[in-house]
């Protein structure tokens, strides 16, 4: 019954590489954000990309769905090159994706129900509204928000928005879901619910998953493979144990949440806090 609203665009299925990035470089002006990166995202697996804020995680994940185009390098979806396609061709391919944006990116002018059925309406003609209502209810129940159908995004908390956005991302039952910091800004319990949900989607539906995060608890819990980005390069790649025992000092600092010696030195050098503060007499 629900099959009707699912993807029916057939594409040749193929080897294990669901997504492949080859020698990708991205610059904004002179700022090189991604520097010659290559990686393969395996079908049915969960790949987690970690790295400090501003290291280019969002930029990387947006290249996987061709929302951004590389300066050089290639991106393949199921062995088909997508980084050079035009938007019309991409629109068909993108229906196979779900994308959870960092801030949710819900449409302010639409309520929760309308937000969730947006992708359905764009790609199918809705004939049976009762069925769609049930679908919305089911998707909302999955993220623990059944009953919020008529709310507008402005009246939801940040975490609730993110969960509605997740419900919207899985509305078309995508084969691949990209999550941009799904647990950031959620309380630990909610964060764990999202982790469980990501695992459930991957286990039950065989969804290929890419998660970008700096939440190591979440990364260890859901990852089949963890990739660490630093200065535009991949400096570590492997399963959770491999990362835990990785010899690279930057990886160790990041996963343990330690400040580097250089940063500490700056703090020590700048003297006492009061010296760095403005005092009322400075303004007289």
């Amino acid at each position: 019954m629900k099959k009707k609203y699912e993807n029916n665009l057939d594409m040749e299925t193929c080897s294990n590489g669901m997504l492949e990035v080859k020698n990708l470089t991205k610059r904004f002006g002179t700022n090189v954000v991604l520097d010659n990166i290559s990686l393969t995202i395996e079908k049915g697996k969960t790949t987690v990309v970690i790295g400090p804020s501003g290291c280019g995680k969002t930029v990387l994940i947006k290249h996987l769905i061709a929302l951004l185009r590389p300066n050089s390098g290639e991106v393949y979806f199921k062995n088909r090159r997508i980084d050079n396609l035009n938007e019309n061709e991409l629109n068909r391919i993108r229906t196979h994706y779900g994308f959870l944006f960092q801030g949710g990116a819900l449409f302010d002018s639409l309520n929760v129900t309308e937000n969730i059925i947006f992708p359905i309406r764009q790609h199918c003609k809705i004939t049976n509204w009762r069925e769609v209502e049930e679908l919305v209810k089911a998707k909302l129940a999955m993220v623990g928000l059944d009953g919020f159908q008529q709310f507008y995004p402005a009246n939801l908390s940040g975490g609730q928005r993110k969960r509605v956005a997740l419900a919207r991302a899985i509305a078309l039952n995508p084969e691949i879901i990209l999550y941009d910091e799904p647990t950031t800004g959620l309380d630990p319990i909610r964060a764990d619910v999202i982790n469980e949900l990501i695992l459930k989607l991957q286990k039950e539906l065989g969804v290929t998953t890419v998660v970008v995060t700096h939440d190591m608890t979440s990364a260890y819990k859901i990852a089949d493979r963890i990739i660490m980005l630093h200065n535009g390069k991949i400096i570590a790649s492997g399963d959770a144990d491999h990362i835990r025992n990785h010899p690279h000092p930057v990886v160790q600092q990041f996963i343990k949440g330690q400040v580097s010696e250089d940063d500490l030195a700056v703090l020590r050098m700048s003297g006492t806090i009061s010296q760095a503060q403005f005092l009322p007499r400075d303004f007289e």
């Binding site: 947006k62 929302l67 938007e87 391919i93 994308f99 944006f101 819900l106 302010d108 992708p119």
Partner: protein, 269 residues
């Protein structure tokens, strides 16, 4: 120094190219959408927001223009004993120039600002990316309904402005300044041709299209942050205003040429 000028020139040219591409895509998408009933509800919503709610502003603008013209022009004409020609002067000015231009300027402020702010906010909160990520063309979903609503409704709003300008001018001339009503209308009817009114209305299509395209483009290319949105709105307003005035001049030249060749021939026949 030369480097800076060079870089500015390059970025200016590439921005122009980007804008031209945006306009082209919007036109194509608009033509396509006319055939698909799915966009009709969206267009309808935008028509309400853009058109219906602008009616009071535009009518007030028109009325004041007409009334002010009457007050200002009366002394000069009365000095020459031509006060009964006041009607033709007011009505021609309102219908041909002031009604369309000032209505468009008000719309650039009221509608253009709102469009840029809305789309700019959607851009910086990744809502436009979200539309793309779900396999929908944001130009088709966001720009086309707004573009078509502006294109179709600006001429209508100009007619409102014209009407109110004519009524305002008549009100001041006849009731305030005591000009004979019949003479006022007779001179007006002889002086104002259908051609003059059509010019004003045709201008409306161009002004509406310019306002919509510029405002949407500025929203789509808006920089991050609340400051970015504010800046985009200001830039959109200034750009709309200048293009309205420039278009008005260009159209005046073109229409004059057309008038001289065709309309006079027709009246000879």
């Amino acid at each position: 120094m030369i480097g800076i000028v060079g870089a500015k020139t390059i970025s200016g040219v590439s921005n122009m190219g980007q804008f031209a591409r945006f306009v082209w895509q919007s036109m194509i998408a608009s033509l396509r959408s006319c055939a698909s009933s799915r966009t009709y509800p969206l267009i309808w919503t935008q028509m309400n927001i853009i058109g219906v709610r602008s009616v009071p502003v535009v009518m007030i603008t028109g009325a004041f223009v007409g009334m002010t013209l009457a007050v200002q022009a009366y002394d000069q004409l009365a000095g020459m004993g031509l006060e009964e020609h006041l009607g033709i002067l007011i009505n021609i000015s309102v219908v041909k120039e002031l009604g369309p231009v000032l209505a468009a300027v008000m719309l650039a402020g009221r509608v253009g600002g709102a469009l840029t702010a809305e789309l700019g906010t959607m851009n910086v909160t990744e809502q436009i990316d979200a539309i793309r990520s779900m396999g929908t063309d944001p130009i088709r979903y966001l720009v086309v309904p707004r573009f078509l609503a502006c294109l179709l409704l600006t001429p209508v709003l100009i007619i409102y402005a014209d009407l109110m300008g004519i009524i305002g001018g008549h009100f001041v001339s006849v009731i305030q300044l005591g000009i004979n009503s019949r003479a006022y209308w007779n001179f007006s009817a002889n002086g104002v041709e259908l051609w003059d009114i059509s010019i004003g209305v045709i201008k409306g299509f161009f002004f509406g299209a310019a306002i919509a395209v510029i405002s949407c483009y500025k929203g789509f290319t808006c920089k991050e942050g609340a400051q970015g949105v504010g800046r985009a709105c200001t830039e959109a307003f200034v750009a709309s205003l200048i293009s309205i005035l420039a278009l008005n001049f260009a159209l005046a030249v073109i229409f004059k040429a057309i008038y001289n060749t065709f309309w006079q021939l027709k009246s000879l026949v």
